[in-house]
Symmetry: C2
Subunit: 407 residues, 2 copies
């Protein structure tokens, strides 16, 4: 029932997660066809209250919960454990993101889980990981981003402003660890299931802090080898110019990356100042970087006279890499995203017409599909427990009356 089309058709995944990281991981798996069963408390995952609401419902949930089946189960009830383990028995993988130790406290230690399903792949996502001196500390996406080194870098240089460094604007540490977990689950399932594979489950320990640190390019090797501490460079790139965000006449930000000599010559021509390309201050990348303040002022004076749409049009005509810093409105209107199915109109039975981002990665000859939107809490409780846990109607009624499941 829960299985879709795509390369992951045939996999069943149990999510016992909340908020962002684990649910993001399972969304990726479900988008490619896995049957994802989400266990949540009868009151629902708290993320169902996050963000803007329509008729008392989180709009984000339409996306965050899509393609998943929801089972509402009170994990604190003594009879819940048996129900969970009956589901586990029929699953390939489990994804969770509690604080380390919490799953064990619920009676769901790795040992207990593997007693139910010996070859279960278990992906554990947490702020600091399952091991290490900080493992019991509370962590959010913000903490992962800051300790992993990203927050320090996402800033203007201290000489420019003393404003604090901005957030990336999304809970990147959470979502990123979700993608890594999805990759890890598939790596473990491949080795388990392939012809000649070892048929055994593996456990993944994915930390937000680790996931962020893994993205920091040469930062750590360069510090180790040379003692150089990578510094924030604001909206520029330290080694190439011009590459910056410039304000347009209609107060939008337009990114222009004309940081090779031929690109810069074309930009100078386009700005009707062709002499800049041979100017001693700007005639190669090294001097352009040295004189970047002056250079950016000249470019900004030009961009301030044209609307963002015009700028992108003329720059693109001259094959100069550029784009507007898109807001939701511009993304929704963009013909390229529409053409690729990356902006998709979806009829959500609970919300009406909404827009969803499409499925990443796009598998050309076996694409995943948006099969349904984030369901109501417990929308699939009876269906899943009958089909997978093999419980009879009498047993379901009994569990319902005892407050173990809902509805």
């Amino acid at each position: 029932m829960g299985q879709g089309k795509g390369p992951l058709a045939g996999i069943r995944v149990l999510e016992i997660g909340h908020f962002v990281a684990a649910p993001f991981c399972t969304r990726l798996l479900a988008d490619l066809g896995a049957d994802v069963i989400k266990i949540e408390p009868p009151g629902g995952d708290p993320i169902r209250q996050w963000g803007k609401q329509l008729q008392g419902r989180s709009v984000w949930w339409s996306l965050h919960g899509r393609n998943k089946r929801s089972v509402a189960l009170n994990l604190k009830h003594r009879r819940a454990l048996d129900v969970v383990l009956r589901i586990v028995r029929e699953c390939d993988a489990l994804v969770e993101n509690f604080r380390p130790g919490h799953l064990e406290a619920l009676g769901l230690s790795e040992e207990a889980l593997r007693n139910a399903r010996a070859d279960l792949v278990i992906a554990r996502i947490s702020g600091f990981g399952q091991e290490g001196p900080y493992k019991d500390r509370a962590a959010f996406g913000v903490i992962g981003e800051a300790m992993g080194g990203l927050r320090f870098l996402t800033n203007h240089p201290p000489a420019v402003t003393n404003l604090p460094p901005p957030r990336v604007g999304v809970s990147l540490g959470d979502s990123l660890s979700g993608v890594y977990a999805a990759f890890g689950v598939m790596a473990a399932l491949w080795q388990r299931d392939r012809r000649g594979g070892d048929s055994r489950g593996r456990t993944l320990d994915v930390a937000l802090t680790d996931a962020v640190l893994s993205m920091t390019e040469g930062m750590l090797p360069e510090y180790g080898a040379l003692g150089v501490v990578k510094q924030p460079t604001g909206s520029r790139i330290s080694t190439a110019a011009p590459s910056n965000a410039y304000a347009s006449a209609d107060a939008k930000w337009v990114l222009i990356a004309a940081n090779s000599d031929p690109l810069f010559a074309r930009l100078a021509q386009l700005m009707s100042q062709p002499e800049l390309a041979s100017d001693r201050r700007f005639n190669n990348n090294k001097v352009r970087v040295e004189n970047v303040e002056e250079l950016d002022s000249i470019i900004a004076a030009w961009t301030s006279r044209l609307a963002a749409g015009q700028l992108v049009q003329v720059l693109t005509e001259h094959d100069i890499p550029c784009c507007q810093a898109y807001s939701a409105a511009e993304i929704a209107a963009d013909p390229h995203f529409r053409s690729r199915g990356m902006v998709t109109e979806v009829d959500d039975p609970l919300l009406g017409r909404v827009l969803h981002p499409g499925i990443v990665p796009h598998v050309c000859d076996d694409a995943g599909r948006i099969r349904w939107c984030g369901p109501d809490v417990g929308a699939h409780t009876s269906e899943v427990l009958a089909e997978i846990a093999c419980l009879s109607n009498t047993e379901l009624d009994d569990l319902r009356n005892e407050g173990v499941i809902s509805p």
Copy 2:
């Protein structure tokens, strides 16, 4: 020879990529044990010149190229095609990140590749994807981040400053699409190789812009349903307070997230101003958000009197989520990262002692390993061509003399 330990032992991947995205994808695969063969021009992937250098060598390359075998091959030579296809025949997957159409121009269309290896998984990473009106436009990480919506959000509100929005500080669009591609490759290989699987190759079309857009949480659904354009919130979170970065006495940024009533009461106590917890301006999250400027000033006055290390210590003792915005120096010194192997000292034969970030995800009972550091251009040309392409020494000499391969 190239195969390591970890869940991906047994997979062979060919990378025909450059710069960040495709090589980042294959680093993840190689870290978990895949045999990754990187084909690069005799002059090397241009990224070998990026970032800080030691003895004329990029330090970042030590990380970016680790666990891979390098084959130097002049793809423009008419005899190169046969060599590539001989390698393809022995590979499970190919990862590339040229502009759409370039691979075809080299004679390596999907059809040609599948003629050599019928069940090859092909991951194509590009700025805008293989299809859609913008597919031929030049794109960098910066463009992916800006069009995917992240650059607009990673900014202070316009009322705070008119400085342009900072970059995330790394080529996030590139690396992120690399992680998505690694996930997609494993999804495709799972369905191909599992017992009962369909034994067929699949093609992935991963766009930087798509990968970034997929991280934007409720931004697009909320715009679609309500017409609300998500706005940048600077260093704060719009819906909860206090959650911000505060300057310490030693001019570091310390993140504090004390945005529940109990957490805020503990913070007020710690600041020796317990009365704030019952103050009408601050006694619940709603009013704290309304009075956030005043609240942040009070907290910043307190943090400005203590060094970052002291702040983190006392806040942690009071179980208030916090951390410093770590630079490379603090990451390298952190005992938690060291304990988890996420900061690892590695002896690079070309560079000496360097630091590498560890392997993500951590597979507890079958961990990947750093087997070797980014090798010299063509370090494995002879080895790979003899072992995999089954070329004799005479044939290798001939190809070398003709300038097809090096060394």
